[in-house]
Symmetry: C2
Subunit: 259 residues, 2 copies
């Protein structure tokens, strides 16, 4: 708190990660921030995950696409003295709201935004939750890529995939497929199939730690792109990723630490 | 629970991530597992982070290097019916104990290990905690790489670094430097300097969410390898990673979502 700024005039904006869904995977820091909020802002689905809220807490639910508008709205509220919490699923720093909030602050519509007490609280992201359920597929070097070309050119995505395959990293793929671009995931899979063995292990985590959770372990050869949608995180193993059969008929997947 | 196996004979092994340190960043699922454990096993430093424990809980603290022995010990205990919790800092699935536990299970010394109820509980890892404190440097595609060559050849690490740089990914570097190999981090930095601009933003997170937490924002040109030790996570920005000056004299760092 700076000496020339009375506490009452400074609002706060806390960007929080709810984790994958189950409140047992949400940090106490996030729960505490939610409890102390005067205003909660976010995409409707995540607001529903974060609630319920007390009657005196104001809830501002919005459409998923309006990240930057939502960030600006949050700063406007906080600049008036509100304690605003912006909710993301997973980790707000991984393909979620923290970057949008920083973008808004980088081009402030009001200098008062810089007086807002801003903080980011991390959370467990989808790839970690799917990895934990599968065993340890991210147990060695890995990369985290978004396949959405809403904000970056598809050619760049293909270039990155090709280089990651060359580096033999495990791939954690977010936003793999949407109704608006069903063909791109097929193209990504075709690219990876050209560079990794057919028996490469693939883990699909859909709605992990939410109702209807589905974990699928398959191979690059057997992967059906139609098994994958926007709510799925896709983990493609490296050449070293292995499976261990379980007596119950399932399996564990892990990437050894050593060479 | 299979029908032919009475509950009393089946122990459990739960591999948990304590998060970066501060209990406010530890999930309730992990706290609950710790509370229910009959036996807690792990590296001494992480045992200290996880405790204190009740007098009737048995604590098995070990040296950091003996991951595979520790995993085998955990299975042996669980196979006798104990509720064993194996502690990792951060996320057990990210350069931590989950892969070692899977390696042990893949080469079981006792078939009874396969009867143990095994689960992995994710946590917030060091790069996420440092990223949240800095703003959103991991806000776009990134990779997570260990610089330790205890278990993989250094040539492989250099190859991966070069490909990551070519892909213009943000780099999150774990185990960057130890007393036993002080020169390797210098070599890694030299390699990156040959491939990224001098003004590339670098974030150093040391003991984040622990006593003495230090967050340093510098550039690739100004980075002094001696600022970095084994307790530091190093985030090297992509060509697009930016900083925003803060009125208090510090700055935020973020990687924009778009191109």
């Amino acid at each position: 708190m700076s000496a020339d700024m009375p506490a009452a005039s400074r609002g706060s904006l806390t960007v929080v990660g709810l984790g994958p869904g189950d409140p047992a995977l949400r940090t106490p820091a996030v729960t505490e921030a939610l409890d102390a909020a005067t205003d909660i802002i976010g995409y409707r689905t995540y607001i529903d995950l974060a609630g319920p809220f007390a009657p005196e807490q104001r809830v501002h639910a919005s459409d998923n696409r309006m990240e930057l508008d939502r960030a600006r709205h949050a700063f406007d509220l906080a600049a008036t003295g509100a304690r605003v919490v912006m909710v993301s699923s997973g980790d707000p720093g991984v393909f979620a709201m923290a970057a949008a909030v920083m973008e808004a602050l980088d081009h402030p519509e009001d200098p008062a935004w810089h007086q807002v007490q801003l903080s980011v609280l991390p959370g467990v992201t989808a790839a970690q939750a799917a990895s934990a359920l599968a065993g340890a597929p991210l147990g060695h070097d890995f990369c985290v890529l978004s396949l959405s070309d809403n904000l970056k050119p598809w050619a760049e995505i293909e270039l990155r995939l090709a280089l990651m395959c060359e580096a033999d990293l495990v791939l954690a793929l977010y936003n793999p497929r949407s109704k608006a671009r069903p063909e791109q995931f097929r193209r990504a899979v075709a690219l990876i199939r050209g560079r990794r063995a057919p028996e490469t292990i693939v883990v699909l985590g859909r709605d992990i730690a939410r109702p209807g959770e589905q974990l699928t372990v398959t191979t690059l050869a057997d992967l059906d792109p139609d098994q994958v949608d926007m709510r799925t995180v896709v983990i493609v193993g490296s050449s070293r990723t292995k499976r261990i059969e379980r007596p119950d008929g399932g399996c564990w997947v892990y990437t050894p630490r050593h060479y």
